[in-house]
């Protein structure tokens, strides 16, 4: 069995050949330190500037508003801590949601320990925050709203335009964790009134270990990593030039091809979701029916548990992920699945399939062939399913 079908593009993607190609000469030819004034250094600086332009263009930001980081988590930490510390005389209240990535949630919890107050907005069964809730939670002390653009598990896309408006009217900074959105959704930080935005290259066919934080000009924010004067004095550390070059190329490719890419993924996903719902009973689809990432499909198969599902899929060559606790070694399943109101036992049976560039109709056919058997086999082994077969449910 040598088939390998990768259906976990939200976890990470491979680096596209065109991206790697641009990166390669940076490792040993244009390898200079961008801070150096001689030609090796100036070449490297030019490459970093070019990447910055590309990122700015993709977001409709200014190049001087883009700051490279080591990834999405650093960008999220920087946005939250940086704005919180720099604005603490103005207020100590932050609003976020219950379904944020841990890079946001854990950082907010840390800030709470340091004396900040954090409101975690609930979401509806589709994973949507309510604009009413948001407005109601704003106080005189609110300095930052941080709501993710699109959810990494269930794919739900938040009403970013409206949140941006509310934040602007209330004169509150608006950060969005767009790690899952960039490359999949058209973003315009000016139009959408976004003050800060996190992104990470390895989610859109760029390399791992590099990301960026967009910081609107004039935003009050402290530094997270202090030291040398790189990134115009805002983020210390010798620049990851090959990574930055890769990020630049990847974001350019992604935004150029966004429409055709979306169309392709949507078609595959429709086939996948319909096929699964037709073939496998006792199954739920999680997330919003329309407002979701084009490549995201998320299911709960009742009476079985996610990890054993993943292991079986892996043996068939299919790479997927689950919000089950057992994949993470904790006891509670994913906070996202709980936040949309799923009971624990159902949330344990979740499966996330996230499509990408190289997936084909045949891949979907293969999943549709293999998955029902696996689910059935696990259900046959499950004491919970016994009772169902007996008539109830």
């Amino acid at each position: 069995m040598n088939k390998r079908i990768y259906l976990d593009h939200s976890a990470t993607t491979y680096t596209k050949p065109e991206v790697l190609e641009e990166m390669l000469p940076v490792f040993n030819e244009y390898f200079g330190n961008p801070s150096s004034i001689y030609s090796y250094g100036r070449e490297a600086k030019r490459l970093v500037d070019k990447a910055r332009d590309r990122v700015a263009k993709a977001l409709n930001a200014l190049p001087e508003e883009i700051f490279f980081t080591a990834g999405g988590s650093e960008a999220d930490n920087w946005a939250l801590r940086g704005v919180a510390y720099a604005n603490k005389e103005r207020g100590n209240h932050i609003i976020t949601s219950k379904i944020e990535h841990h890079a946001i949630l854990h950082t907010c919890q840390q800030l709470e320990k340091e004396g900040f107050k954090v409101t975690y907005l609930p979401v509806d069964k589709y994973g949507m925050v309510s604009l009413e809730d948001l407005k109601n939670s704003i106080t005189d002390e609110t300095i930052l709203i941080s709501i993710m653009y699109a959810n990494n598990e269930i794919g739900t896309i938040q009403p970013i335009d409206e949140i941006g408006k509310i934040a602007k009217e209330s004169k509150i900074y608006f950060h969005t964790d767009a790690v899952q959105a960039v490359g999949n959704i058209k973003i315009d930080v000016k139009e959408q009134n976004i003050d800060l935005l996190s992104l990470s290259a390895h989610k859109f066919y760029g390399p791992k270990g590099v990301g960026a934080l967009y910081i609107k000009k004039g935003t009050r924010i402290t530094n997270l990593i202090t030291g040398g004067g790189q990134e115009r004095g805002r983020r210390a550390g010798t620049e990851n030039v090959p990574g930055i070059v890769g990020l630049g190329k990847a974001i350019e490719l992604a935004t150029e091809n966004i429409d055709s890419y979306n169309e392709k993924l949507l078609k595959l996903r429709t086939k996948l979701i319909n096929g699964i719902m037709e073939r496998i009973p006792y199954t739920l689809v999680n997330g919003h029916p329309e407002k979701r990432l084009p490549g995201n499909a998320n299911f709960c198969f009742k009476y079985i548990e996610g990890e054993s599902l993943l292991l079986n899929l892996d043996m068939k060559g299919i790479a997927a992920s689950s919000g089950s606790a057992c994949t993470s070694g904790s006891l509670d399943p994913s906070h996202v699945l709980l936040a949309i109101g799923l009971p624990h036992e159902i949330a344990h049976g979740s499966l996330r399939l996230t499509l990408g560039e190289e997936n084909t109709e045949e891949d979907i056919d293969y999943v549709l062939e293999v998955l029902p058997e696996i689910v059935q086999r696990l259900r046959d082994m499950s004491p919970l399913y016994e009772k169902v077969k007996g008539g109830n449910q």
Binding site: I304, E305, S324, A325, C326, L331, P333, E345, H348, M381
Partner: protein, 123 residues
């Protein structure tokens, strides 16, 4: 992450199923935490003649259930009661730390089934 032995028991678990007229049935764990094990025993002359299990849970939960049934099959009830989670872990060539609780569950499931047997048969 899992040993070959675990994967082997996960992919081809032994003794999956139910025993219709079981002499003892034990069910432990709960769906909320993501694992339930149910063990059925057929016992004759204090010897475990047959054993089956059903498990809702992760790879380790299924593998520990499978190996536990193998370890007690053919044993006397008293021998089976001596099954420890450590023995389960060892028989599987180890488990990742966060999965040790599955071996505990397997031990408890066996004990629960034997207790049920004893209760039903007034032992």
């Amino acid at each position: 992450m899992y040993s070959e032995k675990v994967m082997e028991h996960f992919t081809t678990p032994r003794n999956v199923g139910e025993i219709k007229d079981a002499d003892g049935i034990g069910e432990v764990g709960n769906a909320k935490c993501g694992d339930i094990m149910k063990i059925y025993l057929k016992i004759e002359n204090d010897i475990i003649k047959d054993v089956k299990f059903k498990t809702f849970g992760c790879g380790a939960a299924i593998a520990t259930s499978s190996i536990a049934t193998e370890l007690i099959k053919g044993k006397t009830v008293e021998e089976a009661l001596k099954l420890t989670n450590k023995a389960v872990v060892e028989a599987l060539d180890g488990l990742p730390p966060q999965k040790i609780h599955c071996s505990v569950l397997a031990e408890e499931a066996v004990k629960a089934a034997i207790e049920d047997y004893k209760k039903k048969h007034n032992k």
